[in-house]
């Protein structure tokens, strides 16, 4: 298949290239030793990954859209098999079985799973004749998302398993479910949390009723939602009081991993100091004392944004945030002008994953979000993450290229 490269969305691609190059620059700096004048070779590895990512990106938009459509469910099935296999036979690092080792590289099936779920959900939402709020439609799509989410949670990788759930909600929205309806579906979970204090719970229930009176979701649905809210809220204190102290603590850390003061807490403090001390224009490239003096752990992976903040200041962080903003803005436009429902869903799904990782990762570096171990797309060190994100960009560009077809 020949491609007319001139009609590609080059601004969109160049923004992504720009972010990837900034990433390599920061990875170099993160392990730069000012006294020795050298750096660990992470940046070389990342450069090689980036070249591979370009190859993969180019390959992706040579794939006919029909083929992606055709392989949607087989790919999904394969990814589930891989997710089961990795639990049984995966490589275990730091207590988690998340990887297959291929010798020269490690493959994380949860990344393949994210891709597969985008394609599978896109296909399902594109062809189903059921209306958006149909229970069968909601149930089937939820099943598609929860199977990989639960498998990934078992690894354990809470951050990635959340990505699957977020993807589901996001595609529900994009395939026509109104946000208000979405909120009602999620409401029993809110009830579960609100019920930790009875006053908060009562206020929440009153708000829920008001919300439903305005929305008028239908008697049966309204009753079901309210019943679930009551049930979830009522079991909370019952379960909670029957937990052992250490189990309670486990639940608290599960909900809020940032409460691990000696690991995550320390990283956030160091990250905040790094970012905050960057000021407006930063300390200059390779001049970040916080990252250079190695007080900031994980600085080339999860906290690469903090290195940026320290060395390039607010100017640097704003530039990167705006580059991402440009990608998302452009992406939303691409998604909304695709004529085919399937490609539109694909673009939306790809954007959701990039956005979620972007928001959680940057939010984490200054304490807005819990530390979950999600990398910053295009900038964090990591081969599979880079390949996955560039594949997503490939899908978006491909869909845009074929926007008037199908």
């Amino acid at each position: 298949m020949t491609v007319d490269y001139k009609s590609l969305d080059w601004k969109f691609i160049l923004a992504t290239v720009g972010l990837s190059l900034i990433g390599i620059m920061l990875i170099y700096s993160a392990h730069y030793d000012s006294s020795a004048g050298s750096s660990l070779n992470f940046y070389i590895k990342q450069s090689i990954w980036l070249l591979l990512a370009f190859v993969l990106f180019n390959a992706v938009f040579h794939i006919p859209v029909r083929v992606i459509d055709f392989i949607a469910y087989p790919l999904y099935g394969l990814s589930i098999i891989l997710l089961i296999l990795v639990l049984v036979a995966g490589e275990t690092r730091m207590g988690a079985s998340r990887w297959f080792s291929l010798g020269f590289m490690s493959v994380s099936p949860s990344d393949i799973g994210k891709l597969a779920l985008i394609v599978a959900l896109s296909r399902f939402f594109a062809y189903t004749k059921l209306p958006p709020q149909s229970k069968r439609r909601l149930a089937f799509s939820a099943m598609l998302a929860f199977i990989p989410a639960l498998l990934v949670m078992k690894q354990p990788d809470l951050g990635s398993s959340l990505v699957f759930v977020v993807l589901l909600f996001s595609l529900w929205f994009w395939s026509g479910l109104s946000p208000a309806y979405l909120i009602l579906i999620v409401s029993p979970l809110i009830s579960l949390v609100a019920a930790f204090h009875w006053i908060a719970w009562v206020i929440y229930l009153v708000l829920l009723i008001v919300f439903m009176l305005i929305l008028k979701p239908g008697i049966l649905f309204g009753v079901i939602v309210f019943t679930f809210n009551l049930a979830f809220g009522m079991i909370t204190p019952f379960i909670w009081n029957h937990l052992e102290d250490y189990q309670k603590l486990r639940v608290i850390t599960f909900l809020d991993p940032g409460r691990d003061p000696q690991r995550a807490g320390y990283q956030i403090i160091q990250s905040k100091i790094a970012i905050g001390s960057g000021g407006i224009i930063g300390k200059g490239y390779l001049e970040g004392s916080q990252s250079q003096l190695k007080f900031l752990p994980e600085r080339h992976t999860d906290f690469v944004f903090s290195v940026l903040g320290e060395e390039f200041g607010f100017v640097g962080t704003l530039t990167v945030v705006l580059l991402f903003g440009f990608i998302f803005y452009r992406g939303i436009r691409i998604a909304s002008r695709c004529r085919s429902k399937f490609t539109s869903n694909l673009v939306w799904g790809a954007l959701t994953i990039i956005f979620f990782q972007f928001f959680v990762n940057i939010g984490m570096t200054f304490g807005l979000m819990p530390v979950t171990g999600l990398p910053l797309p295009f900038l964090s060190y990591g081969g599979t993450s880079l390949l996955l994100n560039w594949t997503l960009i490939g899908i978006i560009v491909l869909a845009d290229y074929h926007r008037s077809e199908y």
């Binding site: 207590g95 209306p131 958006p132 709020q133 026509g176 479910l177 109104s178 946000p179 309806y181 929305l215 008028k216 102290d245 250490y246 603590l249 486990r250 850390t253 409460r259 691990d260 003061p261 000696q262 690991r263 807490g265 320390y266 956030i268 403090i269 905040k272 100091i273 790094a274 970012i275 905050g276 001390s277 960057g278 000021g279 407006i280 004392s289 916080q290 003096l293 190695k294 007080f295 752990p297 320290e310 200041g313 607010f314 962080t317 704003l318 945030v321 705006l322 903003g325 998302f328 803005y329 939303i332 998604a335 909304s336 539109s344 956005f355 928001f359 940057i362 939010g363 200054f366 807005l368």
Partner: protein
């Protein structure tokens, strides 16, 4: 179009608005940190660094039942190394020089206690204040070295508390629980045995975290001014059922005897253990700091096994104390009445082609059940055993708690053996064993072996109308927020004996002390009556073990004592006087202080 559906353009608009809000939130956060709070963060980044300091909570204190403190804490300094800040070739040798430790040892500790590059790993425990002040003042010469204050155990002396309290020591690799941040981290001290282990979670509290600011030269400047500090939650205090004064009395007695053995004393009406002692004992303070290798080796190599908790983890033939089980089973089965007189004892008896001896060379003559128990006649019980048979015996033994653990709240308990047909088939091959084995078992010899705790349980049932409460050491947990959790007695099982059988057995036990020819008549006194049974357990490895199990006051028991003295000969000669002394100490208090009068008024008196 339904109300649940929104058009694509509309959705794109909603999405754009949400995107802008999200970007604004992030930009506002960055603006706040990088522009508004720039100065304060710059100051923190310039000269100084932030270091983690784990706050080790105060370990809970342990009290005896009368609120005497038996395990306390003292402060101790621990030197740690922050791996990320350390300069291997500088820090380690200098620390070794300062403390007199070995560089290799420090390195080994560092590797063993490594948690993460930026969390301090404990390398040297129990350092003196000189070392600490040197570190504090000359931090720059010891890059990465830091210290923390830890509470270390201090046990009260003279009660051989190691048996039930256990000790604490550095967590072992297989105990580390990385999953939970409140779990067992490398380098922390945890309970290794006894109460310290069983209730470690309660005693330990929850570790906190402090962040401190350190100058580039390694000097501590002060706490980091953030809201990130997580305070530690102190551990809960424990109140044990143990009576420390009673335990001290037992230690004194064993010290004078210079013997090995064990004692369990409990309140049969609740299962509360009043004393639990094992000899030779160890001073738990040996373990509070760092045990030098040579001391540890001498403990391990000691042929008298001082680490062994004899009442729960050592097994012996019960000797004649088991005759009450045989008697109870036979009464229950209806093959014996209290008045049954069997063939007379002439010092021994022939069964098949073997002669089974009685301990009394000249024989006891013709006896009924009461007097057979009183004088502990073997020949009488050989016959009872033969009539009863192995299967019936085993059924009752198991129902009386033999051959299985009592479930006491400290670990390391053994289950003993109550032999059955299946047991012998396995040991000797199907039907390749003599039916006469039951004769030995009936008098508490042969393959029947018990822990002193199991025997205690059985007699607690006899003393308490058949009800056996689970033996336990914990009375109360006192949480730091002042809530108190009391441990209620739990019924463990009921002896498979009717009230009639129980009263026959307790009458027989009273005769052992009160009877003209009772084997423990030396325990008779004017304040209260004791009911009990002596035992002499043949020991293939040496001199016989001496047993006594008894309770008092016999009509309303408040204490039951099971005493075992290894290689001490007859039960009546060593174990019984020991038990008598313990009972007296508990019921009458410290007689040298003349508090007898009051106790006497409360104690029922016979004779």
């Amino acid at each position: 179009m339904s109300a649940y559906f929104i058009e694509k353009d509309h959705r794109a608009k909603i999405a754009s608005v949400l995107l802008i809000i999200a970007l604004m939130v992030i930009i506002a956060g960055l603006f706040y940190h990088q522009i508004i709070r720039y100065k304060s963060f710059l100051a923190q980044s310039e000269e100084n660094r932030i270091r983690i300091r784990p706050i080790i909570p105060k370990r809970g204190v342990i009290f005896d039942r009368n609120m005497e403190m038996i395990a306390d804490n003292r402060l101790s300094f621990t030197v740690s190394i922050v791996p990320m800040e350390m300069e291997k070739d500088v820090t380690l040798p200098r620390l070794a020089e300062l403390t007199g430790a070995d560089t290799l040892e420090i390195k080994k500790k560092l590797n063993a206690n490594f948690i993460s590059k930026y969390i301090p790993a404990a390398v040297l425990r129990d350092q003196d204040i000189g070392v600490i002040s040197t570190l504090e003042e000359n931090g720059e010469h010891f890059p990465g070295a830091t210290y923390s204050v830890e509470s270390v155990r201090q046990y009260v002396e003279g009660i051989s508390a190691e048996t039930f309290i256990g000790y604490i020591a550095e967590v072992a690799p297989d105990e580390i629980d990385n999953e939970s941040q409140w779990g067992y981290r490398p380098g922390r001290l945890i309970g290794k045995k006894g109460i310290e282990k069983a209730y470690d979670r309660e005693l330990r509290g929850i570790e906190g975290t402090d962040f401190i600011e350190v100058s580039a030269r390694g000097q501590i400047i002060g706490p980091y001014g953030g809201k990130d500090r997580v305070p530690a939650v102190p551990g809960a205090d424990l109140v044990l059922t143990i009576d420390a004064a009673l335990q001290r009395e037992i230690v004194k007695f064993y010290d004078s005897l210079q013997a090995s053995g064990g004692v369990v004393a409990l309140d049969p009406t609740t299962g509360e253990i009043l004393a639990l002692a094992s000899f030779p004992g160890l001073d738990p303070n040996l373990f509070s700091g760092v045990i030098p290798d040579e001391i540890w080796r001498s403990i391990i190599d000691d042929p008298r096994h001082p680490l062994l908790n004899r009442p729960t983890s050592s097994m012996y033939p019960p000797g004649s104390t088991a005759k009450l089980l045989t008697a109870g089973a036979a009464l229950e089965r209806g093959v014996l009445t209290p008045e049954t007189i069997l063939r007379g004892c002439g010092g021994g008896m022939r069964f098949g082609n073997r002669v089974f001896k009685c301990w009394q060379e000249h024989g006891h003559g013709r006896l009924d059940l009461y007097h057979a128990v009183e004088q502990s006649c073997n020949v009488y019980f050989y016959q009872v055993g033969q009539i009863l048979g192995l299967d019936a015996w085993n059924e009752f033994a198991v129902k009386c708690g033999f051959g299985k653990k009592s479930g006491i709240d400290i670990s390391g308990e053994l289950s003993g053996i109550a032999p059955s047909r299946a047991y012998y088939d396995k040991a000797f091959g199907p039907n390749r064993w003599s039916k006469l084995l039951i004769l030995n078992i009936a008098i508490g010899q042969g393959e029947f072996i018990v822990t002193p705790l199991q025997l205690t349980q059985f007699y607690a049932g006899l003393a308490n109308g058949g009800k056996v409460f689970k033996p336990h050491l914990l009375k109360e947990i006192r949480y730091p927020e002042r809530s108190v959790q009391k441990i209620e007695p739990t019924l463990s099982f009921t002896l498979p004996f009717s009230q009639n059988t129980l009263s026959v057995l307790s009458r027989a036990l009273e005769l052992v002390v009160q009877g003209e020819r009772g084997t423990a008549k030396g325990l008779r006194n004017k304040y209260y009556t004791i009911a009990g049974k002596t035992g002499t357990a043949q020991n293939p490895h040496g001199k016989d073990h001496s047993w006594f199990v008894g309770y008092a006051p016999s009509n309303a028991p408040r204490i039951l004592v099971c005493a075992l003295v290894e290689n001490a000969g007859h039960g009546s000669e060593v174990a019984a006087p020991l038990a008598g002394r313990i009972i007296k100490r508990y019921l009458l208090g410290d007689s040298t202080q003349n508090v007898i009068a009051q106790s006497v008024a409360e104690s029922p008196v016979t004779e």
